[in-house]
Amino acid sequence: MDDQDRNRDRVLAGALADCAAGRSGGIDRLLAVEGAQMRGVARRMLGRDDLADEAVQDAMVLIWRKAAQQAGGAGSARGWIYAVLRNRCLTILRDGARLASLPPDDLTRLQEARQDLIPDEGWRLLAGPGRLGDCLQALDDHSRRAILMAHVAGFSHGEISARQGVPLGTTKSWIRRGLASLKECLS
């Protein structure tokens, strides 16, 4: 964590403390600092502005409610905020009834776009400039791709195994093995 990250996390932790204490200014500050990035993450995974906005709103409501619980927890405020957001995106993605309300063409486009999120070449852009990219590079292609499909595009075990053309158990073990290597490399 560099100084800029530390400062940011102090601001975010303060905003979460406000939320925990019921001061809605915490919401404004969280959105001022992270709102655009949060919407970007949700839009990448969900492929539509309306769904992305719904996900960010849901996430903010949850963050407001759970901020007190998170206070004093391990890990950074920022890491937690994006974990809450990704969970909301997944809930929307896996809500068959919610997606059935979309026009069929949109739904098809959405699924195809998610597929394209994880390119065979050029995936490194997804990992940013830090060490995560190097450590992902060191994984075997199957494990790396499966981990990125889950985290970035929100695919389930079943969807990943179907797209990789291997049994569910194989996908699961690729992911577990890959994540264990990744943790070791990053520690």
């Binding site: 959105l31 709102g35 990035q37 890990g75 992911i175 994540l179």
Partner: protein, 246 residues
């Protein structure tokens, strides 16, 4: 807890952090994280390590008035006009689930079996801190959609603990009441009355030692609890206890 259990928990933390669990599994895993700070720390560590993957998404400016819309939703939620998605009260399912006073027969055997299985898993995986008292049985209470709503851990010394794993709406003028069925002869016995869906310690009457597959449930009752001493309101969730072999 054995090393193999610990390794399995660590692997599950990875599945959770990558979003690979179903909503039900994730809700149960969150109850485990509350009991096990090391598990919560493992998930937080993974979230932080993988955060660059979130930060690589191209930012998208929020539409005008977004913060105001969020605040309006929070206000609405506080005044009860906007029950959380999936909140149980007021749904059609709730009125269909009116309490069956005879407590039998159970039409949703499959759902109860699922709850029993979850209780076994939860107990196995949750038996982490040997220094703290361990419950004799764990019951995961599912609603009629099969979603986990609450977990009851019964310690057998007339003390049980209840935690909620998803939102339960308690309309004004009502209370939640927790029940168990130690035997058909005794019938349903109240474990305690809750004013809100908060984690609570339940101190029930002197009862036989809780058994495997004993039924637990929570119902919505008039404020202060059932006037008859038996469940009268709709069932919020129910489940069979899994004995913890410790």
């Amino acid at each position: 807890m054995t090393g193999a259990d610990r390794a399995e928990l660590t692997a599950l933390a990875g599945d959770y952090a990558l979003g690979l669990m179903s909503e039900t599994e994730a809700a149960l895993f969150e109850t485990l994280m509350h009991r096990d700070p090391a598990l919560a720390a493992e998930v937080a560590m993974l979230n932080d390590r993988l955060l660059p993957l979130d930060l690589s998404a191209p930012p998208a400016a929020l539409p005008e008035g977004f913060a105001e819309r969020v605040r309006a939703r929070l206000r609405a939620a506080e005044t009860g006009r906007d029950p959380a998605p999936g909140a149980w009260a007021g749904t059609e399912a709730a009125t269909q689930g009116a309490a069956n006073l005879s407590w039998a027969p159970w039409r949703r055997r499959a759902g109860l079996a699922a709850a029993l299985a979850l209780g076994v898993v939860l107990g196995l995986l949750g038996a982490v801190q040997r220094s703290v008292p361990q419950p004799l049985v764990v019951a995961v209470l599912l609603d009629d959609q099969g979603q986990p709503r609450a977990v009851i851990e019964d310690y057998g010394n007339d003390t049980a603990q209840i935690r909620f794993v998803s939102d339960v709406e308690v309309p004004p003028g009502t209370s939640i009441e927790a029940w168990t069925l130690p035997s058909q002869e005794l019938g349903p016995v109240s474990l305690g009355v809750l004013e809100a869906a908060r984690p609570s310690l339940l101190r029930g009457p002197d009862l036989p030692r809780p058994a495997d597959a004993q039924l637990y449930e929570i119902t919505l009752e008039p404020l202060g609890g059932s006037p008859t001493g038996r469940p009268t309101g709709p069932i919020i969730a129910k489940g069979l206890a899994a004995a913890q072999g410790l």
